[in-house]
C-alpha cells in the first residue's frame, strides 16, 4: 500500500521534503561541465630526464612513476621476457651500492611498495610510500634503476617463477582464449602477444640483460612523474641530485620491432577443450592509430558497438537473450601502430554458434547500416558528460600526460577531444564504420567443447584447429 502511494506521489511530482521530486527521465543538465584539470608541471633535469609533477596534499603519500623506453618491443624474439625479467630484477635485486637484501629490507621496513613491469613498449616502475620517507628512499630506488645489481640468485628465482607460470598457461580456458587470440591477431612472435617460453628463458643470461640495460636505460629515454604530497622545489633538487649526473651511454639503443609480425590469416580458429561448459569467443582485426583522423569517430562507434549498457553487443547478447554475463567490444588505438578491434563473449557451450553469429551480425550491420541517430545522440551525450571522470585521479592524469609526451603526441591530446567529438554527425561515424569495419578480415577464435555446441564451427567459415599445448 505504502509503495503505491509513493509511486503516486512520484508521478504527480508532489513535494516530499523541501525540494520538488522530479522524474529522472526529464531532468535536464548542460551536456558539458566546465572545469580546470589538475595542473601538471613539466621540468627537464640537467641530464635531459623529463620530470612531471602533480600536487595533492590531502593525504601524506607520494607516488613516483618511472617510464623507460625499454619494453619487450626492443627485445629479440628468442629472448622474449628479457625486458620483463630486467624489471623484476630491478624491483627485487637492488643495486651495486644497495645489494638485494639491504635494498629489500630497507623498502619493506618503511612499508614502501615498489613494483615494476615491462610492457610492450616501455618498462614502468611505481614507488608508493609515505611522503616523509621520500628523501631517504627515492635515492635507493633510483640507484636500482640506474645501476641494478642483477644478482644471479634473483635471476635463477625469476626463471623458476616464469617456468611455473608457463606450466599454468592452459589452466583456465578463458585465459587460453585471450592468449591464443592475441597471438593470432598480432603474430606468434609479436612483442604484444608472445610468451616467455622455457627456451627463451635459457637464452636470457646476465650478460644479455646487462647489455640491454646499458643500451636502453638512458636519460633521453626515461620520464619521471611524481604525484601527491611533496614540495616541488625539494623534489626537483632531490631528483637532480639522484639523476643529474647520469651520462647518455655512447651506444645505440635497441631498435623497436613492429607489433604485427606475421599475423594469422583471417578465418576461424578452434581450440577444442573437452569438458568446458562455457565457450570463449573472440573476434577481431586491426584497430587504428591514435593519430588517425577517424579517432574521434571511433570513440562514438565503440560506445555503440560494445562500450556501454546500451551498446549492441550487450543489448543483443546479454540483455535481450541472456546468453552471456561477459560480453564486450572495443577498439584500441596504438600510439604508433594500430591496436585491435575486437569483440569477446563467454557463453554456455550449447549457445556457442548462436552467440558467434549474433556477434558477426552486429559487426556486419554496423558496417553496412551504421548507427542510428538515437545511438549517436546517446553515445555523444554519454561520452561528453562522462569526460570529467578522466580527471578524477590526479595520478592517472599525470600518467596519461607522460604517456602522450613519451610517444610524441601533444600532452593535452585528450583535452582536445570533446571539441572534436561534439560536432560529429551520424554520417561521419557511419562513413568511418563503413571503411574501418571489415568482416572479411576477422580472425575468429572459439575455445570450448565442440561436442555440446549448437552446430558446427564450420558454419562460421573454414576452420583451423589449434592445439594450445604447442601454440
Amino acid at each position: 500500500m505504502s509503495r503505491r502511494i509513493a509511486v503516486l506521489l512520484f508521478s504527480l511530482s508532489l513535494t516530499w521534503g523541501t525540494a520538488e521530486i522530479k522524474d529522472p527521465r526529464s531532468m535536464d543538465f548542460p551536456p558539458r561541465l566546465e572545469f580546470t584539470p589538475h595542473e601538471v608541471t613539466r621540468f627537464t633535469l640537467s641530464d635531459g630526464v623529463q620530470v612531471f609533477f602533480v600536487l595533492d596534499h590531502e593525504l601524506p603519500i607520494v607516488d613516483v612513476h618511472f617510464l623507460v623506453k625499454a619494453g619487450e618491443d626492443r627485445v629479440p624474439a628468442d629472448c622474449a621476457g628479457l625486458a620483463e625479467i630486467l624489471a623484476d630484477l630491478i624491483v627485487d635485486g637492488g643495486s651495486k651500492r644497495f645489494p638485494k637484501y639491504v635494498f629489500q629490507d630497507s623498502l619493506d621496513r618503511f612499508g614502501v611498495s615498489f613494483t615494476g613491469y615491462a610492457g610492450t613498449d616501455q618498462a614502468v616502475f611505481n614507488l608508493h610510500l609515505l611522503s616523509e620517507h621520500i628523501p631517504h628512499l627515492l635515492p635507493l630506488v633510483v640507484d636500482a634503476i640506474r645501476a641494478p645489481a642483477l644478482p644471479q640468485n634473483q635471476l635463477k628465482l625469476c626463471r623458476k617463477q616464469y617456468l611455473t607460470d608457463y606450466e599454468g598457461r592452459n589452466d583456465d580456458p578463458k585465459y587460453i582464449a585471450s592468449r591464443v587470440f592475441y597471438k593470432l591477431l598480432y603474430g606468434k612472435q609479436s612483442p604484444e602477444a608472445r610468451e616467455v617460453t622455457p627456451s627463451c628463458l635459457e637464452n636470457i643470461t646476465t650478460k644479455k640483460i646487462k647489455g640491454f640495460h646499458q643500451a636502453t636505460y638512458r636519460p633521453s629515454d626515461i620520464m619521471i612523474g611524481v604525484e601527491g604530497d611533496f614540495d616541488p622545489k625539494e623534489m626537483l633538487d632531490l631528483l637532480e641530485r639522484c639523476l643529474g649526473d647520469w651520462q647518455e651511454p655512447n651506444l645505440e639503443s635497441y631498435p623497436e620491432s613492429s607489433l604485427y609480425i606475421n599475423p594469422a590469416s583471417p578465418g576461424v580458429y578452434l581450440v577444442q577443450w573437452p569438458g568446458s561448459v562455457q565457450s570463449s569467443i573472440y573476434m577481431g582485426h586491426k584497430g587504428l592509430v591514435r593519430s588517425d583522423p577517424g579517432y574521434p569517430e571511433s570513440r562514438l562507434l565503440v560506445e555503440v558497438y560494445g562500450g556501454g549498457w546500451y551498446s549492441r553487443l550487450l543489448h543483443e547478447i546479454r540483455i535481450e537473450r541472456g546468453l552471456a554475463y561477459a560480453v564486450s567490444g572495443s577498439i584500441s588505438s596504438g600510439f604508433e601502430e594500430p591496436g585491435e578491434f575486437e569483440g569477446m563473449c563467454l557463453t554456455k557451450s550449447e549457445k556457442t554458434l548462436e552467440a558467434s553469429k549474433l556477434m558477426l551480425g552486429i559487426i556486419s550491420e554496423l558496417k553496412t547500416e551504421g548507427i542510428t541517430q538515437h545511438e549517436l545522440e546517446l553515445a555523444k551525450d554519454s561520452w561528453l558528460a562522462s569526460f570529467p571522470s578522466y580527471y578524477e585521479d590526479p595520478g592517472e592524469v599525470l600518467y596519461d600526460r607522460m604517456d602522450y609526451a613519451g610517444h610524441g603526441y601533444p600532452i593535452d591530446f585528450w583535452d582536445e577531444l570533446p571539441d572534436k567529438i561534439e560536432p560529429l554527425t551520424r554520417e561521419d561515424v557511419n562513413r568511418f564504420a563503413s571503411e574501418f569495419l571489415n568482416p572479411e578480415e576477422l580472425i575468429i577464435l572459439v575455445v570450448g567443447d565442440t561436442t555440446s555446441f549448437d552446430g558446427s564451427v564450420s558454419e562460421l567459415g573454414q576452420v583451423t584447429i589449434i592445439d594450445p599445448e604447442v601454440y
Binding site: 516530499w16 522524474d23 531532468m27 629490507d105 549498457w309 540483455i319
Partner: protein, 493 residues
C-alpha cells in the same frame, strides 16, 4: 636468526637518518557530515572539490549470508535485477505490465512444476510454449536497459553493483551537477524496483557462475573450501549460489528477499566529491525521505561451532594449488588489527618471513600470500600458495606449517612489527584518495564494523599493537590442528 640480524644492520647502514614512521594523521574524520533521515537510512557526506565529480555508494546490509539452503544466490540475482528499472523507469505502462508479469510467473510455475513432477513431454512442451508466449507479452512493455541508459546518458561512470556475504552495494560516479539525478534514481530503485526480464537475467547469472566457478578450476576449488570451512553458518554458501538453486529461484523469491531485507534502517549511502553537504541533504530528504519505514529483517542467529579438527578437500587439476584456511574473528573484534599486521609480517613484501623463506630461499612456492575475510559474524585468514614448478601442494603445505612452528621459536621482532605498521599505514591511506573507494569504506565501516568513524580511528589504534599481540593471535588462530585445506594436485597420467 642471522637473517634478521643482517637485516637490522643493513638498514642501519643505509638509513642512519631515517626515523621510524611518524604518527602522521590527517583530519579526514571531521570532514564527514552524517545525516540520518526519519526512516533510518544513514548518509555520510564527504566534500572533495578537486574535480567536478561525485561518487556515491549505497550499502544494503543484505547478502548471501541472509539466504537459506535451497535458495542460495538470491541476494546476487536481486542485485542484477535491481538494474531492470522501477514502476516508472523501464516500462511503457506499468499497470498492464504488472498483470503480464503475474501471468508470466504463473506460466513459469506451471511449466516448472510439471517438469519437476515428471509430466509427459507433450504437457511440458505445451506449458513451455505458453511460458514463451507470456514472456513475449510481458516484454512488450519493457523499455530495455532504461535505468542504466539514463545514468550513462548523464555521464555515469563505473556504474555497477556487487554482492558479498554480508552486504550488497550499488555505486557510480557522476558529474557533480547531476547529484539530484542519483537521488531520484536510487530512492526509486530502493523502494519500487520491478524485477522484469527475470528469466533472461537468471540465465545471465548462471553464465557468471560458469565463468567464475564451473568453468574455472580455481573457482571450483575455492567454492569447495568455503563449503567445508563452515558447517553451520551460511557463510559457507557461494555468493553466486549453487547452480540448481539459482535455476529454481522464482521472481517471488527475489521479491520477498527485497521486501524483507531492503529496508532503510539497514542502508548507508556515502557521497564523496564535489557537492555541498547542505544542498545535498536537502535533496536527500526530499527523495530518500519518501521511502517508508519497514520492520527490521530477521537477524542471523547461527553461530559457527568451533572447528574440532582438520578439514580437507583434494582435487586434481593441471597445476598444483594450495588454500589453507583458519577461522579468525568477526570484523568488529579487536584482534582484527593484530591479524592484519601478522599477515603483513608473514607474507607481504620480499622480506616477509614466508616469502623470503619459501619463495626466495627454499623455492617451494612461486608466490604466496594471505587473504583475509572480515565478516560481520566471522572471519578467516587463508594462505594462498602457488607451488613452484616441480613442487606439490602437499609439499608446500608442510613447508608452511614448518614456518608456523618456527614462529614460536623465533618470535616476531620489534623491527618486523614496525615495518608491518609502516606498510599498514601506506595501505590505510592509499584507497582514501579515490572518491569511490572512500565511499565504499565509509559504508562498510558504518554497517559491518563498529561505525564509520572507526575507519579513521584505526590509524591511532595500530600504534598500540605490540609484538606479543601478534604472537598471541598467531598462537590462537593459526592452529594447524584446526585448519581447513583445499589442494589441487597434478594427476599422474
Amino acid at each position: 636468526m642471522r637473517r634478521w640480524t643482517a637485516f637490522a644492520v643493513g638498514v642501519l647502514l643505509v638509513l642512519p637518518a631515517l626515523v621510524r614512521s611518524a604518527d602522521t594523521n590527517v583530519d579526514l574524520k571531521s570532514r564527514v557530515v552524517v545525516h540520518e533521515i526519519e526512516n533510518g537510512m544513514r548518509f555520510l557526506i564527504f566534500e572533495r572539490h578537486d574535480a567536478p565529480l561525485v561518487s556515491m555508494n549505497i550499502l544494503v546490509k543484505a547478502g548471501a549470508a541472509n539466504e537459506v539452503t535451497t535458495k542460495t544466490g538470491i541476494a546476487h540475482l536481486l542485485e542484477h535485477l535491481a538494474f531492470k528499472g522501477t514502476q516508472t523507469i523501464g516500462t511503457t505502462d506499468y499497470t498492464s505490465e504488472r498483470k503480464a508479469l503475474e501471468e508470466l510467473d504463473a506460466a513459469f510455475e506451471a511449466y516448472h512444476s510439471a517438469l519437476r513432477k515428471g509430466a509427459d513431454s507433450a504437457t511440458v512442451a505445451a506449458l513451455y510454449t505458453e511460458f514463451g508466449n507470456k514472456q513475449e507479452q510481458a516484454s512488450g512493455y519493457v523499455v530495455q536497459a532504461e535505468f542504466s541508459e539514463i545514468y550513462e546518458r548523464n555521464g555515469g561512470w563505473g556504474l555497477n553493483a556487487s554482492t558479498s556475504l554480508d552486504y550488497t552495494h550499488y555505486y557510480l560516479t557522476l558529474p557533480s551537477n547531476r547529484f539530484e539525478l542519483w537521488c531520484a534514481m536510487e530512492s526509486d530503485r530502493l523502494n519500487n524496483s520491478v524485477f522484469r526480464e527475470f528469466y533472461s537475467e537468471r540465465d545471465v547469472v548462471l553464465e557468471e557462475r560458469r565463468m567464475w566457478i564451473d568453468n574455472n578450476p580455481y573457482g571450483l576449488l575455492y567454492e569447495e573450501l568455503e563449503s567445508i570451512a563452515y558447517k553451520a553458518h551460511s557463510y559457507g554458501h557461494p555468493v553466486l549460489g549453487y547452480y540448481d538453486d539459482v535455476k529454481n529461484l522464482s521472481c517471488q523469491d527475489v521479491r520477498t528477499f527485497y521486501e524483507t531485507y531492503y529496508v532503510p534502517q539497514c542502508m548507508t549511502a556515502a557521497i564523496v566529491g564535489d557537492v555541498d553537504a547542505d544542498d545535498a541533504i536537502e535533496l536527500i530528504d526530499t527523495y530518500f525521505g519518501r521511502i517508508p519505514s519497514r520492520p527490521d529483517p530477521p537477524e542471523l542467529v547461527t553461530t559457527e561451532p568451533p572447528q574440532p579438527g582438520i578439514r580437507r578437500v583434494e582435487m586434481n587439476g593441471r597445476s598444483p594449488h594450495l588454500w589453507m584456511n583458519f577461522h579468525t574473528v568477526p570484523a568488529e573484534h579487536p584482534d582484527v588489527l593484530s591479524l592484519e599486521l601478522l599477515s603483513i609480517v608473514l607474507t607481504s613484501g620480499p622480506s616477509s618471513r614466508l616469502y623470503r623463506s619459501l619463495v626466495e630461499e627454499k623455492k617451494m612456492a612461486s608466490d604466496l600470500g594471505f587473504h583475509r575475510g572480515n565478516f560481520a559474524q566471522a572471519g578467516y585468514m587463508t594462505l594462498v600458495g602457488y607451488p613452484m614448478k616441480g613442487k606439490t601442494a602437499a609439499q608446500l603445505e608442510e613447508a608452511v606449517l614448518d614456518e608456523f612452528m618456527a614462529l614460536k621459536e623465533n618470535p616476531i621482532t620489534q623491527e618486523e612489527l614496525d615495518a608491518a605498521k609502516a606498510r599498514w599505514k601506506v595501505w590505510f591511506y592509499s584507497p582514501l584518495s579515490s572518491n569511490l573507494s572512500l565511499a565504499f569504506f565509509l559504508c562498510w565501516y558504518d554497517r559491518c564494523k563498529g561505525g564509520w568513524s572507526e575507519l579513521f580511528d584505526r590509524i591511532e589504534e595500530v600504534d598500540k599493537i605490540t609484538c606479543q599481540d601478534l604472537m598471541d593471535v598467531s598462537e590462537h588462530y593459526l592452529d594447524p590442528e584446526k585448519r581447513t585445506v583445499a589442494t589441487m594436485e597434478v594427476k599422474d597420467e
